[in-house]
């Protein structure tokens, strides 16, 4: 069920109406029913994968808790009769069993994801390496599998770490995994922030519904007016990259910057707006990413929930592991204090961004995209002392506006270089496009009309520019802690709704009819 379909709007409408008619106890059950109906609309077979992940994660969560309970019981029973060594032995054994339980659940669930999503990629590479001719396997790919797998595994790791006690009700847990607004494209939720909201009492408030719909409307505007329009230019150039060079490629890459942001953040707005209608607040996934002053900062603002997931469950365990600690000491001995401190972090970052690349898709270009980001962050970490010295030497006022603007522009440029890999049809195509951007560069393309044969007309470019300007100012205000949503909420009802009316009618008036079916880009992960 695509978020831009009539089906979804009707489904949401019915879900919200019934939700507020039900008593508190019934509300979460209704949400669970809706979530499964929503997922079942994409097929029964794919739903089985969701059920398997839910049950396996729930079960292992309980087993982890049981193991702690068992240890406590043993220690209690044998209180006073155990030596410190024996106590340690029991604790180690218990820890070991928990580790195996966790590892088993992680391997099982990530294994499902890996096989369904990456098996054919592995076969392609195997065939190339060993000159074999194994055929692709036509696997079902459940919608949103990356999102719900990451969300479930995050829960399990937290339970293992005793961050919170596991959920004891399978159905309540099933709702956490399958909550329909966020199921297809995130954000990747955390149990402690999300789950309790489902079971609180939610009463009908028109203002809340209004705010939810307002956010959805804004998301649809970004998607249909900007992202789908920019997609015309982007697809034309990226899919026929041999025919284009210079300014045309730059226009397409900039177009992709806009398309991806408007599509993904627009999707998030729809998701969060829909969730707000149920009075369930989801984690923010975007924080004005194009105002980032470094690549590292960019990843703190772009797809935030994936970044924090990676940080909490991969980066910290890896960078703080015993092996990394030993490696840090080793490098400190031979390369000095700074390198000794930073290199383990850099390596952990490279691993993280390799995984981020793999998460984006089963292709080398995505791995290159991830590593590109990881390398820049690693390099900037390693070169930080030199950078500080240069700043001091040139007396650069680092807090001045021009310097911040320079950093923003520099980061935006670096981000755009990364898009070559992300959107290019292959790794080699991305490299060819980079070369052609430089070799075929000519400013005459700006005036000879060649930009107008890329699928967009003058009015299309005007809509894109105007729309980008609107997004820019909204983001700029947000960056200065001024929320446009809040400001609108404080306006008189007539003005508010007149604004909604304008926004609503601007979608069919200015919206592009999508070139491909399938709705939001990130709904395919």
């Amino acid at each position: 069920m695509s978020f831009i379909s009539m089906e979804f709007l009707l489904f949401l409408f019915i879900a919200v109406v019934v939700y507020y008619l039900l008593p508190q106890k019934g509300q979460w059950i209704w949400l669970l029913i809706c979530s499964y109906l929503f997922y079942l609309s994409s097929g029964i077979k794919v739903t089985l994968f969701l059920v398997v992940t839910t049950i396996s994660t729930f079960g292992v969560g309980l087993l982890l808790e049981q193991e702690d309970f068992r240890l406590k019981q043993i220690l209690k029973q044998k209180n006073g009769n155990l030596t410190a060594e024996e106590k340690k032995m029991y604790k180690d054994k218990s820890k070991c069993r928990k580790k195996w339980l966790l590892a088993g659940a992680l391997v099982f669930n990530f294994g499902i994801l890996a096989v369904l999503k990456y098996w054919n990629f592995a076969i392609d590479n195997w065939n190339i390496l060993f000159h074999t001719e194994y055929n692709h396997v036509n696997f079902l790919l459940p919608l949103g599998i990356s999102f719900y797998t990451f969300q479930s595994m995050g829960y399990l790791i937290d339970v293992y770490r005793k961050k919170y006690v596991p959920e004891h009700n399978l159905f309540r847990f099933a709702l956490f995994v399958s909550y329909f607004p966020q199921l297809l494209q995130g954000p990747i939720g955390r149990f402690d922030r999300l789950s309790h909201q489902f079971f609180e009492k939610h009463t009908f408030e028109l203002m809340r519904i209004e705010r939810g719909l307002q956010l959805m409307l804004w998301g649809f505007f970004k998607k249909m007016v900007l992202a789908d329009r920019a997609a015309v230019l982007v697809n034309q150039v990226f899919q026929n990259y041999e025919e284009y060079s210079g300014i045309a490629i730059i226009a397409a890459v900039l177009g992709y910057s806009l398309q991806l942001y408007a599509d993904f953040s627009g999707g998030m707005d729809v998701v969060m707006g829909a969730s707000e209608c149920f009075h369930i607040k989801l984690d923010q996934n975007f924080k004005q990413p194009y105002f980032a002053v470094s690549i590292s900062d960019f990843w703190h603002r772009w797809h935030i929930t994936l970044g924090t997931w990676m940080k909490d469950y991969v980066f910290y365990p890896l960078s703080l592991s015993k092996g990394m600690n030993r490696f840090g000491k080793f490098t400190k001995k031979y390369f000095g204090k700074h390198v000794g401190r930073v290199l383990p972090v850099c390596i952990s970052n490279l691993v993280i961004f390799f995984l981020v690349g793999v998460w984006h898709g089963a292709a080398w270009k995505f791995i290159a995209y991830g590593l590109y980001n990881g390398i820049i962050i690693a390099f900037s970490n390693l070169a930080a002392p030199l950078y500080q010295k240069a700043i001091a030497f040139f007396h650069i006022p680092v807090k001045s506006k021009p310097w911040v603007v320079f950093q923003i522009v520099r980061t935006f440029l670096l981000v755009n270089i990364g898009w070559y890999f992300d959107m290019g049809i292959s790794f080699s195509a991305a490299l060819v496009m980079m070369r052609q951007t430089l070799t075929g560069f000519s400013l005459s393309a700006l005036t000879d009309g060649s930009l107008f044969v890329l699928g967009l007309s003058v009015s299309d470019y005007a809509v894109l520019l105007l729309g980008s300007a609107v997004i820019f100012f909204v983001s700029l205000l947000k960056e200065h802690k001024i929320s446009v949503r809040e400001s609108i909420s404080k306006k008189p009802l007539v003005i508010r709704w007149a604004l909604y009316g304008i926004l609503m009618f601007s979608i069919p008036l200015l919206g592009q009819v999508a070139v491909v079916q399938g709705g939001f880009i990130y709904a395919q992960f």
Partner: protein
């Protein structure tokens, strides 16, 4: 619902009503009059039809029901229309059966419609929009329209937003008596006219540029699951209703079949196998004997195989004769078709 406040809710309802009103006005002034509306009026005007043709633009330009009827002595209606994909055909069939009890459905099969996806936008809702309120419309909505971009249902005017220059004309036409009485004179048809009962008569223009080959080469692998599934639904539906289903492919110019011989032959074999499996009669008029019907280029206005009015009359006579012979049980395939 404890925090229920009446005033904002009333205002919200007023807002929704206002939006609906604006949308209705925009639909009225921007969406032009179209042939589907006229065709569906023929279907629902109370007249009873023995045979209904369903299919694509090839049938729309090639089958004149009045000529067919002059041979068979029956009453038929042509609901073949441009951009009518198999899902549209299925719901049209349902509407046909809701308003009529035809003995025969003749489905005009264009292989490209089995391979291509319908363009997003106006054409996806073209037929649905003109359906009279009926169970078929409801099923159409839940079966197809619900899955489309919500703009299709909530703001179809958006697909015609660039036609703002025609607002004056649209309003004049829609307010005219001719429009209200479903007079086909309100239609604007290039080099032709509405020939009645769904048929469009295209004039033969001497020396006309017939464009280039633009047919979609047949590829079994490109056949869409959706097309197959809807065709199966059509077959089952006709079976359940006791309606005879006949499948035809209208003839395309010899030049086209020669240029894409393999493609046409593969398509013929594929669909012949299919129809045999379903026990359906399949008449591929690309295999029609030359002495029965000419496929010379002069009778077409493009290489894709859209017939002009003169050729359409000839084809409709042949089709009518075959239908009549089938009705009488003395149709001999070899008399009209060859396997070459």
């Amino acid at each position: 619902m404890r925090n229920f406040k009446r005033k904002p809710v009333i205002l919200a309802i007023v807002f929704v009503i206002l939006c609906i009103a604006v949308t209705a006005i925009l639909n009225y002034i921007l969406i032009p009059s179209n042939v589907v509306r006229i065709n569906l009026h023929y279907l629902t005007n109370g007249e009873k039809y023995d045979t209904v043709f369903l299919g694509t633009s090839h049938g729309q330009y090639g089958i004149d029901p009045q000529t067919v009827d002059s041979v068979t002595g029956e009453n038929s209606l042509n609901l073949c229309m441009a951009d009518e994909y198999l899902d549209d055909t299925y719901y049209l069939l349902k509407l046909v059966c809701e308003t009529n009890q035809p003995d025969k459905i003749i489905y005009e099969l264009d292989p490209s419609y089995w391979m291509l996806s319908q363009h997003e936008g106006a054409t996806q809702i073209f037929f649905y929009k003109e359906f009279p309120f009926s169970m078929a419309k409801l099923e159409y909505f839940f079966g197809k329209i619900m899955e489309l971009d919500f703009r299709s249902t909530l703001a179809p005017w958006g697909y015609y937003r660039n036609e703002y220059k025609n607002i004056g004309k649209n309003v004049t036409v829609k307010m005219s008596e001719a429009y209200k009485t479903y007079d086909p004179s309100v239609l604007e048809i290039d080099a032709g006219h509405y020939g009645g009962k769904g048929f469009i008569y295209r004039d033969r223009i001497e020396g006309e540029d017939k464009g280039e080959f633009n047919n979609v080469p047949f590829d079994r692998a490109a056949i869409q699951e959706k097309a197959v599934s809807y065709f199966e639904k059509i077959v089952t539906y006709c079976e359940n209703k006791g309606i005879e289903l006949i499948v035809i492919t209208t003839p395309v110019p010899e030049e086209t079949t020669s240029a894409f011989a393999d493609s046409y032959e593969n398509a013929h074999q594929y669909f012949q196998e299919w129809m045999d499996a379903y026990g359906l009669t399949y008449l591929d008029f690309n295999h029609v004997r030359s002495e029965v019907l000419s496929r010379s280029m002069e009778g077409y206005w493009d290489y894709d195989g859209h017939m002009d009015g003169i050729r359409a009359e000839e084809f409709s006579k042949v089709l009518g004769t075959i239908i009549e012979k089938m009705n009488d049980g003395n149709f001999e395939y070899e008399e009209y078709f060859s396997e070459e």
